[in-house]
Symmetry: C2
Subunit: 364 residues, 2 copies
């Protein structure tokens, strides 16, 4: 067996390993919107293929206008990026050589970007006995935000699946501001969660040291074409823009983003599907050899309880049946036996459950 | 009149200013391949729109393999980027806080990126009385490469249009290596020049402090979707990859790049068209109020000689006729009255010449 992949969604590796055609796979390892991109997005790309030839608008003017009007923020407070991930790297470049505080288990790109830009990194660990849900008081008292320059918090948290409430986040935002640290709240999954209105984007007007990351890659299923954005005060946005390569956001992504934002009930439909299917998956996953952790978003963290089962065999068993899951053993604070599965369509989820039903630890 | 645009190719600004539909314009301001993308590139995008949904291969495996085999370099010596421009920013991030030497007039992104990453910048100026062609001895003797960490040389040079020979470049590469400075040779236009075989990619195996930039954006007309790459020693490539956001190169760009590289005579056809049309444009531009500078690539630098003509009026006169040119007044070492025009198709070039024939300095 090869080592666990660094990220979910690497279909090339899966194809290589299991030799099925890409149509033969269901990818539970990438936590994208299960609906796929809105139909109008695919149409707008198809109708604008000739845009491949000319330069993108370097300012993303129209998309930025739409984001700003939908969110009720000033255009100068918005940066559009080549996926949310580019924004993480721009933030780390901005705080280059400083000190970062990361919450673990968490998205590994924060650490990769922090290390690439020589940040000194401290960690705050979420507790398994609290289902990896952050407690704001404990965080502010024990994580020592006053000792760092920048803090990354993912809410809802990836890969653990829980969102902390708006009230709790307000406490965290206020505490961080008082500590002098800059707070990055990565809301890449908030639009696919049960509580989209618990976003703290509204706080950007009030707090100076706060940036919110959003991922249209995740929310609208645009991973292949890359689209994200950030909301913060215009001074910080200007600084990040200076470090962002000109024309970073390609023409098709800009058009796709504009089209996606006009589909007014796509996100509501997505959340409805996710909530319904998550419930059915939780029921199907109730078995003595698997522990699931609560989730209010589009993925579920689970743990194999029977330590006779090798996680690699588990992954491989599913892989050979065309089902790719995210092995979470390389997340700090998790370790062997943890997996993340995305909530997908009913048909796909049933395929996962059927495969799991056939899984016995002595089947190897 | 608004201030001159920071870059060519900003169609949005032109549309705003002159109010013609985008079909009404011919864009001479962006120096892209006049043929447009190879047909197979548009087809492969059209046939793979569903790839928008899943993550790009973060390693660009197949495209990298193809680049490496076509150029005869090791795969570990290649970095694929979100346009050549991302590579310029990655290089400046790598040399962050150090000292850079730039050749002027030159591509403004080197300076923007250098400043964004706090490099101290020194300049070497090409001389107008030498048609802005670099003399290797003069450069090595007077630019003091030994006093800097990184040097950017664009060959053929943008916006001035001349390529220095392979022998001259070898002297520069050797001199820079001896001085201890790292040399970046931006060959974004070499594949569209008369001397594609004068590339110094072959020297990467021999010299440790050398990186070559290539732009598929320019060579294959992929500006809207972004694609570039760099060739250097694997140690430096590894360092740059660490600072590059994961999934930076989108799925459609990777597929487009693979398809483009299979079109074996597209570049030869492009060079043939460019050389022929450049000759006709030079002839058409022979008039007492315009000076042209020699070019062996897909654009021409020119200067208005009649100082009664306002450059803004000249730009505006053409703009109102649907012709966008690159006002070069904001290039260091040029100033008012310089313009760059791309070589385009015969029909388009004739349209430019017809508009110029109608242009009289007293027409305003």
């Amino acid at each position: 067996m090869s080592e666990p992949s660094h990220h979910g969604g690497n279909l090339r590796l899966a194809l290589q390993k299991y030799g099925l055609g890409s149509q033969g796979f269901v990818d539970f390892s990438a936590n994208l919107n299960p609906l796929g991109p809105p139909v109008r997005v695919l149409e707008v790309i198809k109708n604008n293929i000739d845009k491949v030839y000319s330069y993108p608008d370097p300012e993303c003017t129209q998309l930025k206008e739409r984001i700003s009007s939908q969110l009720g923020v000033a255009e100068g407070d918005v940066i559009v990026t080549n996926g949310a991930n580019e924004l993480i790297y721009l933030i780390c470049a901005h705080f280059s050589g400083g000190k970062a505080l990361l919450v673990e288990p968490g998205f590994s790109e924060y650490l990769d970007a922090a290390r690439a830009f020589c940040l000194d990194v401290a960690f705050y660990f979420l507790r398994e006995d609290r289902n990896f849900v952050m407690d704001s008081d404990d965080f502010l008292n024990s994580a020592r935000p006053e000792s760092v320059d920048v803090i990354f918090i993912c809410n809802p948290n990836n890969p653990t699946g829980m969102m902390i409430s708006h009230d709790e986040m307000v406490k965290v935002v206020r505490g961080c501001e008082q500590s002098g640290a800059f707070l990055v709240v990565d809301e890449s999954f908030v639009e696919l969660s049960d509580f989209p209105d618990d976003s703290v984007i509204g706080l950007v007007k009030k707090f100076r040291k706060l940036l919110i990351i959003r991922s249209m890659t995740k929310s609208y299923g645009l991973a292949g074409i890359r689209l994200g954005y950030g909301i913060s005060n215009s001074d910080l946005i200007c600084n990040l823009l200076r470090k962002q390569p000109t024309w970073s956001v390609n023409s098709l992504a800009q058009l796709a983003g504009e089209a996606a934002l006009t589909d007014s009930n796509y996100l509501a439909r997505s959340r409805e599907l996710i909530a319904l299917e998550r419930k059915l998956l939780f029921e199907g996953l109730m078995r003595p050899d698997i522990k699931t952790y609560p989730s209010n978003v589009n993925f579920i963290l689970l743990r194999l309880l029977n330590n006779k089962i090798s996680p690699w065999n588990f992954e491989d068993y599913l892989g050979r049946r065309g089902i790719i899951v995210r092995n979470c053993s390389n997340f700090m604070g998790l370790g062997d036996g943890f997996f993340r599965i995305a909530i997908r369509t009913k048909e796909e989820n049933l395929r996962l459950l059927a495969a799991l039903n056939g899984f016995q630890h002595d089947a190897f």
